[in-house]
Chain length 181, copies 2
Amino acid sequence: MARATTTRADILDSAVRLFAAHGFRGTSLQDIATDAGCSKASLLYHFTNKDAILTELLAPVGPEFAELEGRLAGLRGEEAARAAVTGLVDLSLRFRLQVKILLQDVDALINRPELPAADHIVERLTEALSGRSDAPQARVWAWMAMLGIILTSASECVIPEETLRAELTRGALRTLGLPTG
Amino acid sequence: MARATTTRADILDSAVRLFAAHGFRGTSLQDIATDAGCSKASLLYHFTNKDAILTELLAPVGPEFAELEGRLAGLRGEEAARAAVTGLVDLSLRFRLQVKILLQDVDALINRPELPAADHIVERLTEALSGRSDAPQARVWAWMAMLGIILTSASECVIPEETLRAELTRGALRTLGLPTG
DNA sequence: ACCTTAGCTGACCGATCGGCCAGTAATTGA
DNA sequence: TCAATTACTGGCCGATCGGTCAGCTAAGGT
């Protein structure tokens, strides 16, 4: 019988927190080992290499995502769209730490002194929507609109610029609950 | 009179493309120098260090963002929200390469084999919205909704989960142009 | 013709990285 | 009791990183 050690679980716990805090590349094996209270060599005894740790952390996401895709295949039109939205919301909330790993490197760059804090724009948007900056739904919509605009513009390169400009504006206004007139 | 050399401009041109393709950390000084057709030492003759290159690339974004914030300060309510949206769309499209730098590390992680390609869900959403997968506005809205959900969920940690779940769903449905019933 | 300077380079440096390996201590089943 | 296995470690390795430096070359001003 194997001894009831918690080292392996400790490593995974430390890794997911450090990856989420400093990014995958920004976290060294020594960082993880120190945080987990073991040696770097012990870490590489439990995992073949650094990548294997990330792989194991992301492993549960894949099948769940595939299941959602399978569910969508049997649906059409508005029903499919609604299922996709609720499924994505559910997955995003259940794997928040994993998503935060993906986001970390973006944060590190967005918080550079040459760039303005994105929070300022979100704050303005939230105030504009609610008059008060602490209304939860206004904050969520403001974040969604801002991230939707900024990140979609970088991902969608095949669409003509004018079309993209018009549709990004329409989509964001609708996200905020404003008429697209 | 100084000689009309293009090395400095070549370096900036190579850097922005390589940063956008492989991320800041994923691009070495040697990579940039090779692409620009000069030595690494020459690169460090024109720029004090690696960070200075990124700083210069991001420099034009800051003032423009600040100007947008200033414009928003003089507006209220729906007018402010509309100005924020059109301003954000404009900035995002004008600094697409810079935004792509921020996004690159996310792409590198999202394209791991354990994670499903996000494009699949976008494809399903687009089909659900339009019946045809090549309708430009449907693709844009699908991307906006997906990125809005996933990334907002990681950014908004203070809001109670149930509120977040409800508002993410409402916001995404509105982005897609669907009733939030 | 000569000096200054801008532009550029190869060689090198210390630090840090992921990863390897021989060896050790402790627990286990026989 | 003892060999085998598990868990773990310190020390080391090669590679790569960002960055430095002395020195070369050629263009310009005088």
